[in-house]
């Protein structure tokens, strides 16, 4: 019998199932079930002590129509989009540079990119608080260079949140883009130049499409956590810089209303998941058409 590619054969090798069983169990126990629980709890109500009561309700769904939410959702959305765009925009040149230099230099740069993770995330965020503080070093330098007015606050606004978001998630953009750029065949750029393209055109028309899988991964790696970020706006953002994450935390810890927090979290998950699922299904259909529609 001719061996088909595994994804289209429709048959499973028992060994494959055995090998993937641990990760499947892990995902079901620690991801799928908790997610379903969150969606279920969202339709419960909380009692005065913060416990989850036994009866079902749609109150939490109605509570989504809070008049403060649209502004917060919008802010969360544009901060996440801008963070993603800046991280990808910064990640591409770094990844390109890393992929072109000799292997020794790459490893060094890789270490430099990963080293900040050795410092606790919270400490790094607090460090930013010090940098942006009116008496902080960054502020002083910028004032000295006449780039900001002395009275202009750098901290406690959405721009501070954006800066720290970009700082935090840039490595998560660089790494997948680098992984794609490292596999990119740079002789394609020579081929493009050979065919009359200027180097910038070759980069745009050949390099960028060549690493697009890395760019998509980077976008997901940055956008999804940015949407759910809570600590960063909490620490460097002011009263007007709340994101959805802050609201979820507020419902859970301050209001002691876990079901309402679950409803918010569930709504956030769905807004991320649905477009992703639609994208994935459209990809699969295209791929299927490609493989079945055109005989070689």
């Amino acid at each position: 019998m001719k061996k088909n590619s595994p994804s289209f054969s429709g048959r499973f090798n028992p060994n494959e199932i055995l090998l993937s069983a641990p990760s499947i169990v892990w995902l079901i126990l620690l991801f799928a079930i908790p997610t379903i629980l969150i969606f279920l709890i969202a339709f419960k109500s909380a009692d005065a002590y913060g416990n989850i009561s036994t009866h079902w309700t749609l109150d939490n769904l109605r509570a989504l129509a809070n008049r403060h939410y649209p502004m917060i959702v919008w802010r969360t959305f544009w901060l996440s989009c801008l963070t993603t765009a800046l991280c990808i925009g910064g990640g591409i040149p770094v990844a390109y540079f890393m992929a072109r230099i000799p292997r020794k230099g790459r490893n060094l740069l890789m270490i430099l990119i990963v080293i900040p993770f050795w410092t606790n995330f919270l400490i790094r965020i607090f460090a930013w608080k010090n940098l942006l503080h009116p008496e902080g070093m960054l502020k002083q330098v910028l004032v000295f260079l006449h780039l900001v007015a002395p009275e202009q606050p750098l901290l406690y606004n959405p721009w501070a949140v954006l800066a720290v978001l970009v700082y935090s998630y840039l490595p998560f953009a660089i790494l997948p883009i680098y992984a794609a750029a490292e596999k990119f065949d740079f002789s394609l750029l020579e081929a493009a130049q050979d065919l009359g393209a200027r180097y910038s055109v070759a980069l745009r028309k050949v390099f960028l499409p060549g690493i697009r899988s890395g760019i998509w991964t980077a976008a997901a790696m940055v956008f999804i956590p940015a949407l759910g970020s809570y600590v960063i706006p909490d620490i460097v953002g002011g009263a007007g810089s709340d994101m959805i994450g802050n609201k979820i935390a507020q419902r859970a810890f301050i209001n002691r209303n876990l079901p309402e927090a679950a409803m918010l979290a569930g709504a956030l998950s769905l807004t991320v998941l649905l477009p992703l699922l639609i994208y994935l299904f459209s990809q699969r259909r295209n791929k299927h058409q490609l493989l079945t529609g055109t005989p070689p």
Partner: protein, 394 residues
Amino acid sequence: MHDYLVFDHLTKRYGALKAVDDVSLSIEQGSIFSLLGPSGCGKTTLLRMIAGFEKPDSGRILLNGRDITQLPPNQRQVNTIFQNYALFPHLSVCENIAFGLKVTGHRKADIERETLRMLELVQLERHADSKVTELSGGQKQRTAIARALIKKPNILLLDEPLAALDLKLRQRMLMELDLLHDEIGITFLYVTHDQSEAMSLSDKIAVMNEGHIEQVGTPSQIYEAPCSSFVAAFIGDTNFFDGAVIEVKDSEYCTVRIGGFGDVLCYNDKKLRVGNPVHLSIRPEKFAISRNLPEQRKGRNVLSVTVDDIVYLGTHTKYWVLLNDYRVEINQQHMRYQLDQIPIKHNEQVWLYWNADDGYMLERYCEDDEEMVFQPPEEIGDNPEPTEQHNEEE
């Protein structure tokens, strides 16, 4: 035909290594010119300098009289077929072909017309919308050719374009390339390490070694009259013998004593004198062996040897025969096949014979050629020793 592409004392160094060492060449318009050499001989570096991916440390490249040494790759009327084809994986076949016109801002209608014409030329109409990753090796290669030709290059550079193909496909593509060249008539500069590709395709071949050019000539010149033992050994197989002239017979022939092998008659085109050392190359197909003593002819050398190894190859048989320390390779064409014929066997004593004209004297003496060529041979008939070896052996 005038010199179309000229390399003028090109040198390229990588650190201490001279990848290309003072190379001067000129290539005629419309010809197929091959750069042939082992890997690392500098042929690809030379090609990349023409394409504009490398800048020479010194020297100039002239294309149709214009100095293009400093032009960036995208401004040269030169296109390359890369060894791995370097097709853009995110584009379809026809998008790949159209790429060169799109990036230079041609009109849409022109691009479409030219792309169709190219698809037709390389017979890929049916695959116009295929992904390049789904193509076979030969189809990829044809796509690469179309993508380069759509730019109407003055020179098409081919960097080992057939190396990735299997033998049968390689032979077919070789014929297709040849036909294509006849059809479009632009200059091909073909880089390869495969001597049979170079021989079958080229009008002229430059054999390169360690950054410099060993010899430039037509395929037959290079095969029949190699100017160095490197060329002789690299182009085809050959047997080398070292000896010295012991007798100059007349204006054409001399006898060379090869220690441990015998005294052989040799065509003396280098006008060597008695006592001159000789480095002799004799191609395997110039030898013949037989069980019966071959008849005496003027200029024929005959030696008794022992068969060491036999490989039957259908078109011919390869023999290796031993004579003292010498192991000689022979390609023998088959005579008319007869069922009752007893084939030559391992360890059999046979007669090895070849024509004195078929030995070729090599380089060592090329160097002092000029000094020797005009000197009349002095000792004609001085040495009356018999030179027909089989007499001694009987």
